[in-house]
Each structure stands twice: as structure tokens, then as C-alpha cells.
């Protein structure tokens, strides 16, 4: 971690005021040396590469767009049905369908670079070599940070195994960190016994930040047809149903590591986003609830600013870890 990051993180807990000249709260946050205009991002896989939601949301307003996972080559993903609604959330088993890094760079990154927002590219792979190939291809591309998906529950072989064993996680983090040109965020899976141990492993491997939580593995059975609803049988649970678990894990990770944390899991309002910040997140991501309300990201930004005003807090970063 750089001195700048340490300073930013230290500032978060000290109540240092960052109120801007206009008297409005300072919404900016700095993660691994990258300053975001506000702490609100999109969660990978719920926002495509921003193109589809640009009809609803002004992408220039977002702290960052986190893109859907991209691999070295196109992936077909899983058979359908890939999604199912459950109480207070949804299950998905998309299987990381993506067009591959070449198309992603030519089309999606080119599209996103027109906007005044930070771009965080989510990287996926089956093997170490596949991750490294994508990271290398992004060397000279307009990506501000990389988020490494070592936690997808829906892809057979690889992927989640990297994220469920602390030694493997530390190892792949170190290998990626060594060759990456951008700050590296490791995205952690909640499907582990001890999230603090996993956060520490990512930090030990040199991660610049961690993001959590990815989805919780779940299942739904159609009792009339007596069959699994998802073709993949299991899928990742997201949405408000998982929020208390996510808040708890962000808090636990925040107690365990010094690197910044990006918190996510069922954020449906500005109040939810504030909760994640208070638990220890330096930034947050809006995920499945984009499907419920395509305008949600902007509402969360506006609502968080109102919360800061209401509580006379000068800067969004002061929220980070304020509840201990």
C-alpha cells in the first residue's frame, strides 16, 4: 500500500473534514491512488459495460463503472434458465458469458472511455495463465483499475477455487500484482468459513483493495415440476436478501486488513450504501437492484449526499469504518 493510500485510509477514521468550497459535502474517495468523484460504483455483471444502462443513467455521474467479467477468449456461459427470482433477491448462473478481451477492448472500453468516470475492468479466467493474459492485454488500455474475479460460483474448474483457499488466493494475487499496470482489487467470495482470513490473504499477496461480497451460492427447486429452476442447479444469490451477510463480512474484513474495501451486496438505497461505508467500506457497488430500478445508482449518489448534509458530515470518506 502506498503512503497516499495509507493517508487516505487514515483520514477516513479521523473525522477530518473535506467539505468543499461550495459548502456541499466532498463526495470523492480515493482507492489505491485513484480518485473517484463519489463512492458509488456498479457491481460487475449487473451493468454490462454500461452501454445498456446509459439509456437510463448518466454514466458521467458514477464513481466508477465496473464491467462484466472478461476473459482471454469469448465464453459461452451456462445453459438457460440462468436466472430465477427468490424472496428478496435473485439467483443467477450466467457462467460468465463474455465476448473476450479483444472485442471488449475495441467496443466496450472504447465506449466507456468517452465518459468522465473511472473504469474498473473485471477479469475472469479458468487458469492462472488466462487471468494473466487478460491483465497483460490491459496494460496500455484505458482501465483505471482491475477487479479480479476469483469468486464466481458458477464456473466449473478454476475461478472460485482461487478464492476459497487462502494460499491459492495469496499466490494468484501476487502473480497478478507483479504484472498488472493498474491497481488490483481482489473480489472475494462469501462462500468461505472465514472472510477475514481471505481478506488477509489478498492483502498479503499485494492486493491494492478488496471488494466483497460476490454472490452466495444458492438453489431453487420447482416443486410442481420437481426439478431445479436453474439449468446449472446452483446459482449465486444476490439482492437485499444477502445484505446483512455482506455488511457483516465487510466489517470483519475491515477489522482484518488495512487496504481499502469496496462493499456490495443487496444495496437498494443510499441508506444501504451508507451502512456499508460505516461498516468499513471506502466505496460501494450497486448490483442486482439495478434490475429493479435502472436509475438506482444516481439515486444512491444523491441520497448519500443528502445523508452527509443531514448529519453535517463534510466528506463521504469520513463514513468509512466510523462504526466500530
Amino acid at each position: 500500500m502506498s503512503e497516499k493510500e495509507q493517508a487516505a485510509r487514515a483520514a477516513a477514521g479521523t473525522g477530518q473534514s473535506g467539505k468543499s468550497e461550495s459548502g456541499r459535502p466532498d463526495m470523492s474517495v480515493t482507492i489505491a491512488g485513484v480518485t473517484l468523484k463519489n463512492p458509488v460504483m456498479t457491481a460487475s455483471g449487473t451493468f454490462g459495460s454500461g452501454m445498456e444502462y446509459s439509456e437510463f443513467v448518466d454514466l458521467n455521474r458514477l464513481g466508477a463503472v465496473v464491467t462484466k467479467g472478461v476473459a482471454n477468449v469469448p465464453w459461452e456461459g451456462n445453459p438457460t434458465p440462468r436466472v430465477a427470482e427468490v424472496y428478496g433477491g435473485m439467483l443467477n448462473a450466467i457462467g460468465l458469458q463474455n465476448p473476450g478481451i479483444d472485442v471488449f477492448i475495441e467496443r466496450d472500453l472504447a465506449f466507456l472511455s468517452q465518459f468522465d468516470t473511472k473504469v474498473i475492468v473485471n477479469v475472469c479466467g479458468h487458469t492462472e495463465e488466462e487471468y494473466l493474459e487478460v491483465v497483460e492485454r490491459l496494460w496500455d488500455q484505458p482501465a483505471d483499475m482491475l477487479e479480479i474475479n476469483v469468486s464466481c460460483p458458477n464456473v466449473k474448474q478454476g475461478a472460485i477455487q482461487f478464492g476459497q483457499d487462502p494460499k491459492c488466493l495469496e499466490d494468484i494475487t501476487a502473480k497478478i500484482r507483479r504484472i498488472a499496470k493498474q491497481p488490483v482489487i481482489m473480489k472475494l467470495t462469501p462462500n468461505v468459513t472465514d472472510i477475514a482470513e481471505m481478506a488477509r490473504a489478498a492483502e498479503a499477496g499485494g492486493a491494492d483493495a478488496v471488494s466483497l461480497i460476490n454472490t452466495i451460492t444458492g438453489m431453487k427447486i420447482d416443486i410442481e415440476k420437481r426439478q431445479f429452476v436453474l439449468a446449472n442447479k446452483t446459482g449465486g444469490l444476490s439482492g437485499p436478501a444477502i445484505r446483512p451477510v455482506a455488511v457483516r463480512m465487510v466489517w470483519q474484513a475491515a477489522q482484518a486488513v488495512k487496504i481499502p474495501i469496496i462493499g456490495m451486496g443487496g444495496i437498494a438505497s443510499a441508506e444501504d450504501a451508507v451502512e456499508f461505508m460505516l461498516a468499513g467500506a471506502s466505496a460501494v457497488a450497486v448490483g442486482a437492484m439495478n434490475f429493479h430500478d435502472p436509475y438506482l445508482t444516481e439515486k444512491v449518489i444523491d441520497g448519500m449526499e443528502k445523508y452527509l448534509v443531514r448529519h453535517s458530515i463534510g466528506a463521504a470518506r469520513e463514513l468509512t469504518g466510523a462504526v466500530r
Binding site: G48, E55, F56, R82, E85
Partner: protein, 264 residues
């Protein structure tokens, strides 16, 4: 332009057992300029625990009153909650979505419309649109479980109507293709919406007849706008957007040329 809009229910009633008709009016100035037959919208149940919009095809569009009519089967708690709304209530809607039928391609032809079960409703808007195209002869063959049918009277206004019922209580006993064969209907193009076994049979029928078929597909959806990749169909060729052999039903579809999709 897609948007989420709070619509007002102007009419709601059951047409048959478990089949609800709901008409929604746009607020002043919010209506889209164009609605194509075969497009759909995402209707949000008024239930805090249900997050996802229900993809429901457009049955009628009234550009004067700015009203969209939906006819849907009450299949679970979400659609039951929609069906429980009253006139004057509001329903949030994401729309309008999907590509719809290319009526220009069908104009001036003998067109066969096939609807099975809850695949019937979008055929009404399509029949109405085609009835305005000069020289277009439309035969609508609709399939139901039994004589508890719906939308037949309205379809009859815009097309020559034939029906098939599984139990034989009305029209031809059997499915829509049984009715087509029984009546010796000949067409230059076919449009179909219905359950997957019916769509597979329609694809085979169109190949035998050597006529183009346009199929409206259905899949469990999440975002409805092409971001989540939940609702894909297998395609014959590599899709231009996904760069794999998958196309998004909500965005590239729901209407596909039969030869474009691999539906088994």
C-alpha cells in the same frame, strides 16, 4: 428510448380462467413514439420482496389513448399480484423492450399467425398492424387447452380466424399445426408465439413449406435491457453482440428468424 414509468391501470379483468387482461395508460408526455407488434414490457409486481420485472408481451397499443394492453397468465405470486390491481392503481413498467416483428417484411403477403396459449396475445397487435398493410392476407390460427378461449372475437376483426383445442371442445382437436393442415391453409410467411414444443414444430413446418418463419421466444429474464445476459437463446451463427453463439432474447429478440436460432 427505454424507461421505467409509473403507469395507471385503466381496465383490468379476467378473460378466461387464469388469463388476465390489464390496460395501462402512460402519464402525459411519457408515451413512446412507436410501439411495434411483438415488443414487450417488464411489469413490476407491487410487492417489496419481488425485484424483477415480469416480461409480458404487448397485446394492444392505442396511440390515441396512450394505452398498452397486456394479457397474461397468472402463473405465480408476481403475476397474481399484478392481476390483483384495480382500475386507478399504478403499476411500474419498464418499456418498451425488444425488437418486435418487422411488419414491412410481411406486407403484401399471405401471412399465417400462430399463437399457442399465452402466445396468443401478441398476435392480436400483429394481426391489427398487418390488417393495415394493403394486399396482406392474414390467417390467425390460435391454440387453446379447451373452449375457455380468449381474444378470439378481437382477432376475428383483423384476420381469418381458426382455432384448435387440445380437448377438441372447439375448432380442430389438436394443436395449431393440426388446424393449419385440416384447413389446408397456405402462406408465404409464418409468425408464431407459444410454448417451445410448438415453436420447434413451427420451425420444421416452415422448412417443409420453404417459407420464412419468425418466432417469438420466451426465457426467464432479469434486467430486460440486455445487461445481465440471463435470457439468451442458442444461435446458429456467432452473434454480433455476444461474439458467441448466444443472442439476448430481451434485446436481439424476442422475435428471431427461425433459421437464426437453435431451439432443438
Amino acid at each position: 428510448m427505454k424507461k421505467k414509468t409509473t403507469m395507471t391501470v385503466t381496465d383490468i379483468r379476467y378473460l378466461a380462467e387464469g388469463i388476465c387482461s390489464m390496460t395501462l395508460r402512460y402519464p402525459e408526455g411519457e408515451a413512446p413514439e412507436e410501439v411495434k407488434p411483438g415488443q414487450f414490457a417488464g411489469l413490476y409486481p407491487n410487492d417489496a420482496d419481488k425485484l424483477l420485472p415480469r416480461p409480458i408481451s404487448i397485446c394492444r397499443w392505442d396511440p390515441e389513448k396512450k394505452e398498452l394492453r397486456f394479457v397474461f397468465r397468472v402463473a405465480g405470486a408476481g403475476t397474481a399480484s399484478l392481476a390483483a390491481q384495480k382500475a386507478g392503481d399504478t403499476v411500474d413498467m419498464l418499456g418498451v423492450l425488444g425488437n418486435g416483428y418487422n411488419t414491412g417484411r410481411l406486407a403484401g403477403k399471405k401471412v399465417l399467425l400462430l399463437g399457442g396459449g399465452i402466445g396468443v396475445p401478441p398476435m392480436l397487435e400483429l394481426a391489427a398492424a398487418l390488417s393495415k398493410e394493403p394486399g396482406t392476407e392474414v390467417t390467425a390460427v390460435m391454440g387453446y387447452r379447451d373452449s375457455d378461449m380468449f381474444l378470439t372475437e378481437e382477432l376475428g376483426k383483423y384476420a381469418r380466424l381458426l382455432v384448435a383445442t387440445e380437448d377438441g371442445s372447439a375448432g380442430t382437436k389438436g394443436n395449431v399445426l393440426d388446424a393449419v393442415r385440416e384447413h389446408g391453409v397456405k402462406a408465404q410467411a409464418v409468425c408464431a408465439c407459444g410454448p417451445m414444443p410448438m415453436l420447434r414444430a413451427v420451425k420444421r413446418y416452415a422448412m417443409e413449406e420453404e417459407i420464412p418463419a419468425y418466432l417469438s421466444l420466451e426465457e426467464r429474464m432479469a434486467c430486460g435491457v440486455g445487461a445481465c445476459l440471463g435470457c439468451v437463446t442458442k444461435t446458429a451463427k456467432v452473434d454480433g453482440h455476444s461474439h458467441v453463439r448466444n443472442a439476448r432474447i430481451c434485446t436481439e429478440g424476442p422475435v428471431f428468424g427461425a433459421e437464426e436460432v437453435e431451439i432443438g
